[in-house]
Symmetry: C2
Subunit: 242 residues, 2 copies
Amino acid sequence: MDISSDIHSQHISRQFNQELEELKTHLMAMGGLVEKQVQDAVTALLEGDSALGRQVVENDRAVNDMQIKIDAECTQVLARRQPTASDLRLVLAVIRAGSDLERIGDEASKIARNACELIDGDNGSRGFVEVRMISEHVRRMVRDALTSFARFDTELALKLVHEDEQVDNEYQSAMRSLMTFMMEDARSISPVLSLMWILRALERIGDHANNLAEYVVYLVKGMDIRHTDPEDLDAEAISRRD
Amino acid sequence: MDISSDIHSQHISRQFNQELEELKTHLMAMGGLVEKQVQDAVTALLEGDSALGRQVVENDRAVNDMQIKIDAECTQVLARRQPTASDLRLVLAVIRAGSDLERIGDEASKIARNACELIDGDNGSRGFVEVRMISEHVRRMVRDALTSFARFDTELALKLVHEDEQVDNEYQSAMRSLMTFMMEDARSISPVLSLMWILRALERIGDHANNLAEYVVYLVKGMDIRHTDPEDLDAEAISRRD
């Protein structure tokens, strides 16, 4: 290879790396917005701020636009650069992660809509303790999932897969408490149902954070661990695999 | 190009087309299984057949395995064949569709689990009319979505996008009826909640069928219509675009 073509191919490869970095940067920007949407939706509920709730519903459009833009960029990179091996896995992981972030955005929007209904109905705050606890857990999961993606940190990612089980347990227990409230007082049925939809949305957000973590393992190790029982995931064995 | 290399490239291209056809065939096989899962889950509920319900939960593993296999095949095709234009769109559409089919499978499994709880609790059949109506609508949507994918039929696909709105209306109205049952009789709260989760799962299946339809439009026309208001979709304008 002569020097000029060597410089040319280095140039191409630098551009390509830059494009891959940009995909990641755009995904992280989308992740930041989605994190804020979840936080604002929960704040709207807990502080009775319906204006904030309506803003979350409004902002969901921006989340959707970001996903379409990221998908188009990924398709462009696939068509023009025809990446293979770990570069291909990165592009596919960004496409998948964008889809989960978009769904987290949808769930935040559902939480906000239910919060607005609850606020307008001027109901009490029974069940808020449960929402606060699970929402803090789930928000930490989303943040950690994004951090593990940004740093390609499989150890943090695998920690998350186990944490999702805890959220599921907290969710089941919260649902049982809420059902008791309903049975005690028929007038609470409608507001408690809204809280149940909110808890359900939070639980789904935990599932999506879990998916994000699985893509990090796929991306770094080339292993597809979706649908694997967390009990069967040996963190050490996976982290030794390179 | 001399004759031998011409024959060689025709050979490659025939193999490539065959691989793309296989992706589609495998996706359709997965679709067939998922359709059956939805149908069996609803039958389990309506006919009180808890053995069938448990079988649906058990079969979800097969759905998951199919998705992982299809994803691996798509990744292989991307890495080895480096498709562009409509071939690339087909591979990406298969990846996305596989993800939605897997989620439909999850929802079928949730329906089956809730059906088993209801059957074991030996509850009445209030709310079954609503479930039957919506499930028939949603199952037709899944079937049509798969048909539109198999035939690259954008007209059928666009019809579905409008139908999803109807399902959402039916769902809202069914939820209101179920809430009335709860308020009338506190003892019905627990079984009616199970029915609400079932309706919710059916509504989600309608959303996923809608997503499948959107991928068909993307695949055939190269247009990303996700997050576009159905009112803004002019079927004629889209079908003229080639």
